[in-house]
Amino acid sequence: MISRRTFFSGSGAAFAASIVPRSGFASNFEFQELPSSQDARMKMLIETAVDSAKSAGATYADARLTFDQFMMIKPGSTTLEGRGFPPYNRSENMAFGVRALVNGYWGFASSPVWSKEEAGRLGAAAVDAAKANLSAKQRHVEFAPNPNSTSGDWVMPVVDDPFDMDSEEISDFLDGLVFYLNHLHQEYRRPLGRCGSDIVTQYNRQQKAFGNTENQYVTQRLFRTGGFIRLIYDSSGTGGHTSSGELKCFNPSGHGAGFEVIRRPDLREHCHALFEELVEEAKLPLIPVDIGKFNCLFHPQLVAPIAKRTIGIATEIDRVMGFEANTTGTSYIKHPNEELGILKVGTKDLNVTATRSLPGGIMSAKWDDEGVSPNDFAIVKEGLISDLQSGREGASWMKEYKSRLGKPLASNGCVYAIDAVEPPAVHTSDLIVQPNQSQDKSLSQLREQMENGLELNGGMCHMDFQQASGLIGNYSAFQIRKGKRIARYISPGILFKTPELWNSIMSIGGGSTSLRVGTFDYKQNPVRISYSSVDAPAVLFKDLSIVDPSKKA
């Protein structure tokens, strides 16, 4: 009969009080932190687990402890129907996961119980799980060394830790924002009609400890804060047609940041600008889609998800090698050793870097979930796929290519699990799509380059299961003539193939057009979720295929 508190109280009550990540629910009052890597008993749990796995026959094992806290705070919303309730959601989740490698087979076991007994059980269970495959065909794993493995602590730098704040302070701020939006609603009632707003904010904090059979032990504290402010207006005044716009400075997938991403000093200016933007949009006539080939200017909110899918997810090495073939799919890249450095996916202007050291990036971390300190690396260099996102096992699948380059066999540090209850896997790091380095072209300068085309400021990217072709839809788009917006299109679509899209770049916007966008993705069996940030500039493309996605064949 074991639980978190009984275990720790059994270990000595006085010390337990200082070590246990006491419930955040006792928060607002007395939250106590996850102990540092020097704390003997946290380390003891990890060591017990990996020792147990090792003595049961694992050639390698690692263990993770995670303590996740989540808060969703929404002010009393102002909707077209009136003021609503301020719902409040909060959760905390503790998890313990152990992974073991036996004769090339991985075994993973996890549970919510943090105890020495459970640590031992999980270590042995992970080995048992791996051994379940011993009668299957032999599998060879070349596990890349981790020569720079270090131990230590790392805390994602944030200004305002939302879990150290009184939730009332957050609510007060959001209520103030609602009053300000109400004021703007009145101000813009004439041009926009009835207005409402929807505000949701979400906060995540994770504290994790990791250790392995290579005597590495690290702890990290990570944050993800996001949400949205959506303005809804009824320009018809009858409820017949509503339109909406979202504040682009933060988004539901969030940022690797604290409350400062919500309480930003320029938030009111952003709100005001959004109203102005909606007024300008409302003045433009709505017209049906022109089918054909047109130059298209994509805002960063659209470039980011496309880059995530076509470059980020497509370069996850497990997908490339067919490990996700039965679930979310594979990739248009088929043979790493033959195609890396050769496969041309875009023009020379296309450069994409994977990073886990981006300040404010969701995937920022000092160590990945295999204890590797990730380095930034180019996935696309001057239009060529130049590397894949890998872990310590996957690195060996690029051995031949890396050897040709004279590079050592090493993980790119892309292994991640959203919490310790889920098995780790390769996930897309934060991405930076490099803006134009030679000239800082603004959005309006890019627009002025267009004689006849479309401008798209967001949208959904529906991809096939190899990220090879896609359909962009569900966004607001403008008709551009001679560098000016002259009309709004009703939901056009764009059909594209990945290399053709990025090879049709006419011009990339400068750093001033870049925006950080949070994105979400998952793998399956079991479901493994990940979020990551993409920094993307605006991009002007030549001759894309415009379709009406609502038209059938």
């Binding site: 009969m1 639980s3 719902p87 919510p112 609510s171 096939d464 299961f465 609502s550 038209k551």
Partner: protein, 482 residues
């Protein structure tokens, strides 16, 4: 209070009920509360490139406590440590947040007591010990035989074999002090695999799921996936357009799901924007749905039968079989508690069991006959990436996957490249050429616990659907993925 035994895969009901008792005591002064205790065990074996590579054994627990006041919104807290201190802390936080937020005069404007359904929901059980007790080692031989078959043909197999067990205890206390306790337990087995050509020039898939592992014909799955892969190698590109298309049951299920969703809420169906909304009736001062009218091909019926062991979904004692669609006519709409009460529905109509269903036809045609009767058409294995294009017209897009063949003059003549499609289930199920025998298919898994608010969710649903031949299925572009 200590709850979790290290060696228990799941909490037992009495442990969960102790948690509920404790919460109820801590929150005795709250006007309205809900508590759910979910427990889950998941074990799977994955293989890829003809080798088993990963076995997972995962256990989860989640307690969710909600409190509502003045009939309005509320505070919801969830956690996975179920010792006395955690429960106390969570309840303290709820009281703190309730006092802070709900001193204001919020009201939902529906200050009435719902007449709750009268069924006995004390024992939802879709359980099979063979599934729950399956050991990972038992899967090894199966994985070996599957991968050897693929390897001997020079192909690559990837797949997974999953077993899941879960249980749930839910408790509510309403503002009138009426308490209700629900229990549920379920198992789920799932096996699926994709066999691919190493050069990426062909792909075949097969999969199945059931609460009872014994009902999945594992040997057949491997053979079908392999055969489909071999048949699909080197597909040719043909023009997109409208084709008479035979959808195998797994493909039918994707569209049947979208279709059944339209019947899930009586309230929504009586509002403008719903495809089954008929119009405003001034005599009764409310919208009318298409209840009683024809919404699909006259051969199609959709039912939910809680006592059918194959569909084996929500075993609510005393809940009768529901027919959502009978001979193409919309005969019932699902309704939640509030809808049930407001609409004064009969016990037959009220239902919260919309996810498991059976689609059948009054006239059955074999797939062979469908093929031989096709002059020029397509045979489709499954679809993926289904996403909405236009909600009001129920228009969706997605891509075909893992086996698409051209039929010419009554024979399958060649494998064809995958398509992106744009189609509406409302159109499809009104343009039916022929319907085959209905069979259980693999259900789409979702993240998390199978029980949410006392309802058995997607992880354990069963869809029984037929092969169906549709006229003028709309393929809008070719895609490069194979």
């Amino acid at each position: 209070m200590t709850m979790i035994q290290s060696n228990d895969k799941l909490l037992d009901f009495s442990q969960s009920e102790k948690v509920i008792e404790s919460v109820n005591l801590h929150l005795k002064n709250e006007e309205e509360i809900s508590v759910t205790v979910n427990s889950l065990w998941f074990c799977n074996q994955r293989w890829a490139r003809n080798r088993a590579f990963e076995t997972n054994d995962i256990r989860k627990v989640r307690v969710t406590v909600g409190a509502m006041r003045n009939g309005g919104g509320g505070v919801f807290i969830s956690f996975n440590q179920i010792d006395s201190d955690s429960i106390r802390d969570a309840c303290n936080l709820i009281r703190y947040e309730m006092d802070r937020n709900y001193s204001a005069n919020f009201s939902r404007g529906m200050d009435m007591k719902f007449d709750m359904p009268t069924w006995d929901s004390k024992g939802i059980s879709v359980w099979e010990d063979k599934t729950y007790n399956r050991k990972a080692t038992e899967n090894s031989d199966f994985v070996r035989s599957i991968t050897e078959q693929a390897e001997s043909q020079g192909l690559l197999s990837a797949g997974s074999m999953d077993c899941l067990g879960a249980n749930f205890v839910g408790f509510t206390r309403d503002p009138w002090g009426i308490e209700d306790l629900e229990r549920g337990q379920t198992t789920q087995a799932e096996c699926s695999m994709t066999v691919r050509h190493p050069k990426g020039t062909g792909s075949g898939w097969c999969g199945a799921s059931s609460f009872d592992l014994g009902r999945i014909r594992l040997d057949e799955l491997g053979k079908i996936a392999l055969e489909k892969c071999l048949m699909s190698i080197d597909p040719v590109r043909i023009e997109p357009g409208r084709y008479q298309t035979i959808l195998e049951p797994q493909a039918t299920a994707a569209f049947a799901d979208l279709f059944v969703t339209l019947f899930q809420s009586r309230t929504l169906a009586e509002r403008h924007g719903s495809p089954v909304y008929l119009g405003y009736d001034s005599e009764i001062s409310r919208g009318r749905s298409k209840l009683g009218l024809n919404v699909a091909d006259r051969r199609l019926s959709i039912t939910h039968d809680p006592e059918n062991p194959i569909s084996g979904s929500h075993i609510y004692k005393g809940v009768e079989k529901v027919e959502f669609l009978k001979d193409g006519v919309l005969t019932s709409l699902a309704a939640g508690y509030a809808e049930y009460s407001l609409a004064k529905l009969s016990s037959t109509q009220q239902t919260l069991r919309r996810w498991s269903y059976e689609m059948r036809s009054s006239e059955v045609t074999s797939t062979d006959d469908m093929i031989s009767n096709t002059k020029r058409g397509l045979l489709l294995t499954r679809v993926s990436g289904v996403e909405v294009i236009h909600e009001e017209s129920v228009l969706y897009t997605g891509v075909t996957r893992d086996g698409l063949w051209l039929i010419e003059n009554g024979k399958i003549t060649k494998a064809v490249r995958n398509f992106r499609w744009t189609e509406s289930p409302m159109f499809m199920f009104n343009n039916v050429q022929a319907v085959g025998e209905s069979v259980p298919v693999m259900t789409s898994r979702h993240q998390g616990f199978p029980f949410v608010h006392g309802e058995l969710q997607l992880a354990s649903i069963t869809q029984i659907v037929p092969t169906i031949q549709i006229n003028d299925f709309s393929f809008t572009s070719t895609v490069d993925a194979i």
